[in-house]
Amino acid sequence: MSSLSLSLPGPARRAAFGQIVLNEARLARRQPASLIAGVVMPVVLLVIFGAIPSFRQPAADLGGLTALDVYVPILIVLSLGLLALFGLPMPLTTYRELGVLRRLSTTPVPPWWLLAAQGLVQLCVALTGIVILLVTSITVYGALVPKSPGALMLSIALTAAAVFPMGLLIASVAKTATGASVIGRLVFFPMIFFAGMWWPRELMPGVLQGVSGFTPLGAAVEAMQDSMQGQFPPAAPLLVLVAYALVFGFLAKRFFRWE
């Protein structure tokens, strides 16, 4: 894993990585669990929420936003969270169970390339889901156009950086794909609760809202919501995301099990 000095020349090395990404993408298409979780589900929820007339009315307790406006960032973190906590670790644990990582470690290619390829594919699925969500919410349901797209992109990037290493850590802790899915659920549901999936942050009591701001998906929603409304997000939620990214990035690198 430590070795980067593949004797393949640069272009051949990129081609080799490209081949791994290509096959991971094929698998993502042929076993569409992560496409369903990362793209179909958030969009279907958007359509359902959009069909409720009251969701499209500005509400005073939401600070003049519509419920749909409030839910767009929540659906974005739903997509990212599902892909990071299920889409990423499930294939990786399966690969470890099957011996794919072990076989790869007998080739000149370092096995972490497979992790990187898998992460890249899941990230592409997430970005596809996010773009479809934003475009549909704006064009079909007249939701808020992000006023600060740069801040939104930064928030999305930091969210991904915080939650994807959690998925890697789940893949390390779990011995089997089934175990990974159980741990994933235990971690995911509290996180998506604090993101406001069932009870938007704006309506949470003060204490709960405070806690939410320190959870990865709660901080993510806070940062994205602020970006949508045109302010550059306050430093707090972004710092929370950075802290999660650093801690879980370190843990994932330290504890990832290849076999």
Binding site: S3, S5, L6, S7, L8, A12, A15, A16, G18, Q19, I20, L22, N23, R26, L27, R30, Q31, T94, Y95, L98, G99, V100, R102, R103, S105, T106, T107, P108, V109
Partner: protein, 371 residues
């Protein structure tokens, strides 16, 4: 499967040729001998150039392909490999044989750099697999025990991906032709039979044109026909000059394929010899079994220098030799002189399996059943 067959084995001629070549430093690739004397289809396959290892007309094996000295590896309290030393010559098929938990797989994993040894040295083609991981992995093709692949990838997709990892890979079309997978390129991995998966696994071990191929339990779980096909395949690969390290627990396989065998037990090499040499160690002497035409006195045979003992079981007489002299000739001659004719003569010679049982105290069949 006995000594005469091994002696007549073309590989030995090939090795002789190889040595000759080494001595004269002549121009003919030494391993052509092996290719041209291999049986049937294998020989044809071997002569086509290019699909599998190209290792060319390498001269004298001044440097062993694999060299392991005093290897030791422990997992906590458990000493998996205690003190293992052996070296594998270039172009050789080297067998690693032993009961379950003997340390075979750990030895191989240290040899290819998957695990760092606690102590001892490992050299593959002169390189330290820990320090030179990439160069070692380019030159060594590995087929590990029980390595599956993603169910929903097609054979061709898997092969092209692994092909891209190597600087000078084999041609997918030719390789799959040789391995009998040509018609399966568009099939998903999950739809392949056990034998086809095994051949794909071998294909992945060979796609980088390795100089050394390490095959761990490659025929475990195959039906007898598929196993024989795999053997022909291995002989074909060697015909191209690839050095092969074969981990196995099938006696017949080691006897049939290997030039030399290291018998590992309890983390140590308990014996290292040719299959015939190992079998000879287990032999308390050959034995000959027959039905005499008329009764005779045992002393007629026990008095012979070649005979250790005479046993009777019903009408059968079993004569065990001392291992010196020509037992059969001596027995038949003595009987003939006394006017006795031997009918239904059967000659038993001990084999590698006897050696395995004798040297490890394990029975290979029990081990197979325990899997």
């Amino acid at each position: 499967m006995g000594i005469p067959q091994i002696a007549a084995d073309p590989r030995l001629d090939a090795r002789a040729g190889h040595l000759q070549e080494a001595a004269s430093g002549g121009g003919r690739p030494p391993l052509n001998g092996a290719a041209s004397t291999s049986a049937g289809t294998v020989a044809t396959i071997s002569r086509q150039d290019g699909a599998i290892g190209t290792y060319g007309p390498r001269r004298a094996a001044s440097r062993p392909a694999v060299e392991i000295a005093h290897l030791r590896k422990t997992y906590g309290e458990l000493v998996a490999v205690d003190d293992v030393s052996f070296s594998v010559a270039e172009g050789e098929i080297f067998g690693i044989l032993g009961p379950n938990g003997a340390g075979k797989t750990t030895t191989v994993e240290c040899a290819i750099g998957l695990r760092p040894p606690d102590s001892g040295t490992v050299r593959l083609l002169g390189l330290d697999p820990q320090a030179d991981r990439d160069r070692v992995h380019e030159a060594v093709g590995v087929q590990l025990q029980a390595g599956a692949l993603p169910a929903k990838l097609r054979v061709a997709e898997i092969l092209h991906m692994y092909r891209s990892f190597y600087p000078d890979p084999a041609d997918v079309g030719e390789l799959t032709e040789v391995l009998g997978l040509a018609g399966k390129l568009k099939d998903y991995y999950k739809s392949l039979s056990g034998g086809q998966r095994q051949r794909l696994s071998v294909a992945l071990a060979l796609i980088g044109r390795p100089k050394v191929a390490v095959l761990d339990e490659m025929t475990t779980g195959l039906d007898p026909q598929a196993r024989r096909d795999a053997w022909a395949l291995i002989e074909g690969i060697r015909g191209r000059g690839v050095t092969i390290v074969l981990v196995t627990h099938f006696m017949e396989e080691a006897e049939r394929l290997c030039d030399r065998v290291a018998l590992i037990d309890g983390g140590r090499v308990v014996a290292l010899d040719t299959p015939a040499g190992l079998a000879a160690r287990a032999r308390g002497g050959k034995s000959v079994r027959f039905v005499p035409s008329v009764p005779f006195d045992d002393r007629l045979l026990t008095g012979l220098a070649e005979v250790r003992r005479v046993e009777r079981e019903g009408q059968h007489v079993t004569v065990t030799g001392t291992g010196t002299g020509e037992l059969v000739n001596a027995v038949i001659l003595a009987l003939h002189t006394a006017g006795v004719t031997a009918r239904d003569v059967q000659l038993d010679s001990s084999n590698l399996e006897d050696a395995f049982v004798k040297l490890t105290g394990n029975h290979p069949d029990q081990e197979g059943a325990a899997r």
